[in-house]
Point group: C2
Chain length 310, copies 2
């Protein structure tokens, strides 16, 4: 019986692969650097196909055990057509028919989707969002994205582009954003902006968010203020989504969310103060649970959903 899924999580830095058990457990993993293959999309697709076939063998399985391959990629994806529109951080990818090409190279059914949508599906089915009918799952990183589970289903919007929380304006006037807009949430809480602000506040160069976290743990007042201000921006940005969507749950993942002890109390306080009473009382804010495996596990959810197994 075909019940395992090969999950592929394509990132700008690394590509992770895993074999996922029907209950969401990752039973085999592999990982390779993106950069050696970033120069040519066909080299990258060949590497993906090879790694998929390898990991199946390494796990002691055959293609007959595999329901399909799910691939998450960091950019806008035409999920229905199986086409990668483009990848901001991997050059040369524009309107690539990845589902068809990878399917042909592996002989297995393929589904492709945006990586944040896969992470959202994973947290919803197997992580922090189990049982939530209405939730938002946020990833904090260089980019800030969100996936929406609404009425017990992944909400894609008209063109699979819903969830761009990072590009919801936080202010009418604000810093220019590389999306072409300005004042976007990401220009306040994306890693690049946070790192620049950390260097300014600490009057230093080469300051990292990890060091700001370590400093905050030692009680450094500037570092504590830095995280407090960051949490304030996060709370302000989430208030709009809370009032508009009345979710039961907001799951926060991505690197910065490791600093939850310096972020979550302020985020919650801002939402309690600023959002409407009904919505504020109903929403819970929690950390993502699946960490680096989320993308791979989400690929499993998507593949099995597409095959009518869930």
């Amino acid at each position: 019986m075909k019940k395992y899924v090969v999950g592929v999580d394509v990132g700008g830095t690394n590509i992770k692969l895993g074999i996922v058990h029907p209950r969401g457990k990752v039973i085999a993993r592999t990982c390779f650097a993106t950069s050696p293959f970033a120069s040519s999309k066909i080299r990258l697709i060949n590497a993906l196909a090879g790694a998929v076939l390898d990991i199946i063998v390494q796990a002691g399985l055959t293609k007959k055990d595999i329901a399909g391959i799910g691939v998450g990629l960091p950019g806008p994806i035409d999920h229905a057509a199986g086409v990668v529109r483009f990848l901001p951080n991997i050059p040369g990818w524009r309107n690539v028919r990845l589902r068809a090409i990878l399917g042909q190279k592996t002989g297995l059914p393929v589904v492709v989707d945006n990586d944040v949508k896969l992470i959202t599906l994973a947290e919803w089915k197997f992580g922090a969002g189990r049982g939530a009918a209405n939730m938002m799952c946020i990833t904090l990183g260089t980019g800030v994205g969100a996936g929406l589970i609404l009425n017990n289903a992944l909400y894609r919007g008209e063109g699979n582009a819903a969830g761009e929380l990072g590009h919801v304006p936080l202010n009418e006037f604000g810093p220019d954003c590389n999306c072409g807009g300005w004042g976007c949430f990401e220009t306040y809480v994306g890693n690049r902006c946070l790192t620049a602000r950390a260097n300014r506040i600490m009057n230093a160069r080469g300051m990292t968010l990890e060091r700001m976290y370590a400093s905050a743990k030692t009680g450094n007042r500037k570092a504590l203020r830095f995280w407090h201000e960051t949490a304030g921006h996060l709370g302000n940005g989430l208030t709009g989504a809370v009032n508009l969507l009345n979710p039961r749950l907001i799951v926060i993942g991505g690197g910065v969310s490791n600093n939850h002890q310096f972020l979550f109390p302020t985020i919650k306080a801002v939402i309690r103060k600023r959002a409407m009473a009904t919505q504020a009382a109903m929403v819970n804010i929690t950390r993502a649970q699946l960490g680096d495996d989320a993308g791979i596990i989400g690929a499993q959810v998507l593949v099995l959903a597409n095959h009518g197994h869930t």
Copy 2:
């Protein structure tokens, strides 16, 4: 065959009733002022029950022709339980079991919901939003609300409180709002704020939005600037919803939307400039079509949906 619906649209100023044909046409209408009944909720409910029974007779129908009564009210409603949580503009209404009470008094099935949700259902089924799977319907007035059609269904959120676009922050810091928050969209584009700004700009007292519209039509530069600035705020506020929800359509209704000639071009230009390319290219902005009848027609959509007729 029970196929007609009695739609009731409870407002702070007037209460409108109508008999709605299965195809969405209003075949009989009546209207009475709210204020004589606003002092006591049971007097208001009695007036509603009497008006419902009267209009059925006046239309030459009997209760046997009526599938049910749909009531829209301006405030948070527990639709599932049939309970009015409270009405900001009609005192004394707090946790009123309107579905049960009105059902008993009329002998007809009753559904109750928030008025903006009913307007949204009406525009979606019979108005500007026909055929849209993902749309937002906005009402501009003293309050600014929105209804969301997502994945071909009304999206209610966890507690039927979704759609509070008027209380999505437009800026991190901004005017206090009567919701308890600050910087809310409504504090920039709600009628009260707009009227105050009009008086300031025209250096006058007693300036109305109707007069600002008339002045703009004569080419008055201050009035034109006023509407241009208003449209700028509207465009900025909608950009967030466009990026987050990737809707196909935004339908704009309510009094201020009559000034569409001075609003829509700027709103569209702001969204084109500020929203992400994919989302901006997909969204259409259009006027509501059903005007004052929308609430009554939406009641029909809700009643027939609850009876499984649609």
